[in-house]
Symmetry: C2
Subunit: 236 residues, 2 copies
């Protein structure tokens, strides 16, 4: 370790293989939706006098099916992002082949934005455009604003599925253990999941854990409240 | 327009305000999940002999509630990504203040990766590190692999909600118009939505529309099939 928290080797590795945006969004997205959806199902059937076993079975079945649906949606959506990056790469390759002068001007423009000027700008433009891959990579970052790390559809889908599954099973626990007043306990536990997701994600934020927790509780609680209200219209 | 498809002004604007990754993923994700979820509900209640009106009302209520839940989840997830970017920015600002030499080495490393060497590398490093903002922006791209355009939580949430709503209403249409054999028609229309989402997203892909359509039909169909099977276990 150096004096600033990570070793020089660690940084060199990170620069060679930067982490990219990871699965933070997928986990938060899947977790909140999993909890809201299961709570809505529980709320919909709790008043119908079904046995706790049926509620758990119904809830679990829905968590699995909806979790898989979410994973499939996120897989396809993330795959679409990669396909778009490949498309942009192909466009830029063609442009470089057909109109090198215009594309060289764009590199100049991008390097100007990065802070270069004068003779350094000219020479940096020459050096980067002398290598095909470096040229295209700079265009993708500078012209399109995309990161150098492609998203990963399978990782995104798996993160979604597991976050959905774990967060979605919490509202079912009071029924699984046939607790007295299971629905009220389930509502409180669902609120607890929202707060916990918010508090955990504050690890990747400047916000304090309690504020991030409260904010996520508010957003998740609002969504769960709407789902509960809409559901109760159809299960009087 | 210049000879290569977009005008120089257009490119200059794009370099000043690059588009970033947009809402492609959100729309595909929300659309597929919306269609699978509604189809699963329709499949669950179609055998129960409910009136088409009740099926449409139930389906619509669920589309609205779940669409809102998805939007809330995506809002919080995308917000978490921005919070993480702000956190990284603060870390790098502190590092630059406390350990400018180490951070200058990292800029050198990043610019080497971009294709610079020798005297140009030295001078580009000096010029970029002479400006605080340019310095940090380069670190975020090079060390973390993140794009220069922050994601937009509200846009992401709205794209999710509307894609979910539109794609989720299609499986309900045969019931809304009380068509003979509504469930079979609904199943075919759901398949049609998957194919259409795939064909549309091929606009941002190198794949031909029919291949992208078939691939999305396969993934969405699999998810809908699982949802149908799981649902039918509980609605014999």
């Amino acid at each position: 370790m150096t004096d600033h928290g990570h070793s020089q080797q660690e940084i060199t590795e990170r620069i060679n293989a930067p982490p990219g945006r990871g699965v933070l969004r997928d986990v938060v997205y899947g977790g909140i939706d999993g909890s809201v959806t299961t709570f809505a199902i529980v709320a919909g059937v709790a008043g119908a006098g079904l046995s706790p076993f049926v509620i758990v079975a119904l809830g679990l079945a829905n968590v699995l099916a909806d979790g898989f649906s979410m994973a499939a949606g996120n897989y396809s959506g993330t795959k679409a992002e990669i396909d778009n990056i490949h498309r942009i790469r192909a466009i830029e390759e063609q442009h470089i082949r057909l109109y090198p002068d215009g594309e060289r001007k764009e590199v100049r423009e991008i390097l100007t934005q990065k802070g270069l000027s004068g003779r350094v700008l000219d020479e940096a433009t020459d050096e980067i455009t002398s290598n095909h891959d470096n040229w295209i990579n700079l265009m993708i970052e500078g012209e399109y604003g995309l990161g150098s790390v492609d998203p990963h559809p399978l990782k995104a889908a798996m993160a979604t599925f597991f976050a959905f599954l774990v967060a979605g099973m919490i509202p079912l626990l009071p029924f699984l253990f046939s607790i007295e007043g299971a629905f009220t306990v389930s509502a409180w536990m669902t609120a607890g999941v929202f707060f916990a997701i918010g508090a955990m994600k504050s690890r990747w934020s400047l916000a304090p854990w309690w504020r991030s927790g409260a904010e996520t509780l508010l957003i998740g609680g609002l969504a769960a409240g709407i789902a509960f209200l809409v559901g109760s219209l159809f299960h009087p």
